[in-house]
Amino acid sequence: MASKNLRRVGLPVELCSRLAKQHVVTCQEFLTLSSLDLLRMTGRSYEDFPQLMMTISKHCCPKTTTALENKKQHKQQSAFLPTSLASLDNALCGGLACGSVTEVSGPPGCGKTQLCMMLSVLATLPKRMGGLDSPVIYIDTEGAFSSLRLIEIAQRRYSEYFACQKRLLEMTSRVHLYREFSTQHIMDRLQVLEESLVETGAQFVVLDSVASAVRQEFDSRLPFSLVQRSKFLGQQAAFLKYLAEEFCIPILLTNQITVKFNDRPTSTLETTEEPSVEESFVTTALGTTWGHSANTRLVLQFLNTQQRQIRVAKSPVAPNMDFSYTVQSSGDDDDNSGE
């Protein structure tokens, strides 16, 4: 809507060509200029100018709705993708929210990819079983996706449903996998994602993981690199949020963790749950700015060799709580031995 051509707004042709000579072609370019520049460029009088501004603003502004209509709309579509971990679903008021971006982060080996694969299987299930009955788009940047593991999860968890071979194959054919290993490829993939969503009819997108390509390519200690990195992440977040809301689907991202020291610049260690240095603490990677980008944040961590924990770090609907779970051959399971 921002890149809407001024001609399509219904402005007189001579005004449009006059503005085009000054390189003002879209609504966005019009609205980012100051009033003085615009007065000079359009040649309008000071009294007429507000009317012009209003006309263009009306063509760019979002739709006016109320919260009530929003709620009714939410109710009509399936508003959540249940994760099948009952306590987590309870806390999140249903599961992964449709129309918003959920981020899962945690140390390596904690089960992020397992969670992604399990949710991919869930999304392909019919609605009566709690799924979305739709294809899944899975963007893998680490090379951790394995079709065999996907089949194993499906068979062990929903053994009666996937008892016949045909259903298994159908499920795997509905998970569309894209392997992108550089930030440029990821950005290209996101730009065509809107079309892919329309053509495949997918209702669930997984990006595993956001951090790996970015951290390889951008060195966060160099200031210029940091700016580039923030820009890339910002664009990525904006795309994903737009897609989530436009199609009203849940989008799942995974992130890594990093260790921050108090008086030294950040360094990334791959193997730490209990930081040995006293003043250091573990936090999600990609910085504070990225932290604002996801709507819901879940953090995974190890409790002991068997149990792991999910913590709801940021959510518009849920309080900050912890849950235990285990990773088994059937995917992630609730830990019934206590939270």
Binding site: Q28, L31, P62, H74, T288, G291, K314, N320
Partner: protein, 438 residues
């Protein structure tokens, strides 16, 4: 239409001096200030001013608005916008202030959107309960708006108001409650989802007309101002210019139509290459944006507790209070917190122990919310202050969720001035509030 100077109804000596100085028509008196005219005609400045006014055709001296009129206007407001946490209300001075911009900054997950949702409900509290009975316009740029959560908060506020109505048994309160339902509350929150900078700017141009056509709108929330500007505008100079013009439009809107404008900002990490601290958290959008808001509050974590730190306000002193977010919305913590003496004014990265960090013990946030539900003393109660208030302040508007101590020390000076003025107009006032007799 220029008149002959001789035809103006002036005293003869002034007319004579004007003509002696060479002024023939009133056109020639344009563009001359009273000081210069006074010097040329050798008359006092006030007389010169009188001549100029007559030449322009103005009747008498212009009415200069003074602080007393402003005070009257403010006190005439018969309602407040509370946050339902008396600590936060106290911090901001009887709730969120109208006609100014309040900015909330904070790390992700600390509760900015929750506070915005709470305010969108609180603005609708009917006048008989001490609220403003207005509507809210919510401009969402991040997509964190959840109508289900708004419904939860509305139900809690309705329960609170019903409890009050049942104790007081007032007719108008009972009537108000009949229409005060969750659907009604949700229907009064106008929602605009702005995906990028252009939509946000466009909507800000259209807000004045929108507010004029919906005169009950008393609150405009933008959640958040930071995200579209940080990701959508690369050029820093352009970003600053757009932000400042947005801030001016909002300030004008707030002031002329007496709305409360609440903006949300993000935090960013500032690296200090040369000092002992390696990095600290600071509000995003730069230094010049810091001047845009009238009140600035930073919400921060400390461990698992949430604190609100007022860092900029022309009327309230800098302070930090604790609050919590429960299933009902924003509330006080059940016990009075003892603030750590070493809390620095600027949050450092080490203080930003937001929930993504991994504590060794499991936090018990769920139990604290149970405490709040069970203990009635923590519920903000309307009229609880009326018994303990001195009689001279009984004319003050009903205060929702504010403690007697807050009223006594912060607002009573204003209210005393008001009641004194109402009781004895024209008498000289001896208060230390912002009013000055004209």
């Amino acid at each position: 239409m220029p008149r002959q100077v001789g035809s103006l109804p002036l005293p003869p000596h002034q007319r004579a001096r004007l003509q002696a100085a060479g002024f023939e028509t009133t056109d020639e008196l344009q563009g001359i200030g009273p000081c210069q005219l006074a010097e040329e005609l050798a008359i006092p400045r006030e007389e010169a001013m009188g001549i100029l006014r007559m030449a322009r055709g103005q009747e008498g001296p212009v009415n200069y608005p003074n602080a007393l009129q402003l005070l009257v206007e403010e006190q005439a407001e018969d309602g407040l916008l509370p946050t339902f946490s008396s600590a936060l209300d106290d911090l901001l001075g009887s709730g969120v202030e109208l006609a100014v911009i309040t900015e909330l900054c904070g790390a992700p997950g600390v509760g900015k959107t929750q506070l915005c949702l709470q305010l969108a409900v609180d603005i609708q509290i009917p006048g008989c309960f001490g609220g403003l009975g207005g509507q809210a316009a919510y401009l969402d740029t991040e997509g964190s708006f959840m109508p289900e959560r708004l419904q939860q908060m509305s139900e809690a506020v309705i329960t609170h108001c019903s409890r009050l109505a049942s104790t007081k048994q007032e007719r108008d309160q009972q009537d108000a409650l009949k229409t005060f339902t969750p659907d009604f509350i949700l229907g009064n929150v106008f929602y605009f989802r702005c995906f990028d900078v252009t939509q946000l700017i466009a909507q800000s141009h259209l807000l004045p007309d929108f507010v004029d056509s919906h005169p009950k709108v008393r609150l405009v929330i933008i959640d958040s101002v930071a995200s579209p500007f940080r990701h959508g505008v690369d050029d820093a100079a352009l970003r600053t210019r757009l932000l400042i013009s947005l801030a001016q439009r909002l300030a004008q809107l707030a002031s002329t139509r007496r709305l409360a404008v609440v903006l949300t900002n993000q935090m960013t990490t500032r690296i200090h290459p040369n000092s002992t601290q390696s990095a600290s958290l600071t509000p995003a959008l730069g230094e010049s944006w810091g001047h845009a808001a009238t009140h600035r509050v930073i919400l921060q974590w400390q461990g698992n507790r949430r604190f609100a730190n007022l860092i900029k306000s022309p009327t309230r002193g800098e302070a930090t209070v604790e609050f919590t977010v429960t299933s009902e919305g924003i509330r006080d913590v059940p016990t009075t917190p003892s603030l750590p003496a070493t809390m620095p004014a600027i949050p450092t990265a080490s203080m930003f122990l937001s929930s993504p960090t991994i504590p060794t013990s499991l936090p018990s946030t769920s139990t604290s919310s149970n405490l709040i539900l069970k203990s009635p003393s923590a519920l903000p109660s309307l009229h609880m202050t009326s018994a303990s208030m001195p009689p001279s302040t009984s004319a003050s508007p009903a205060v929702l969720g504010c403690t007697a101590a807050m009223l006594a020390d912060a607002a009573s000076s204003c209210i005393n001035a008001m009641t004194a003025f109402r009781m004895a107009t024209g008498e000289k006032m001896t208060t230390s509030s912002g009013s000055s007799p004209s």
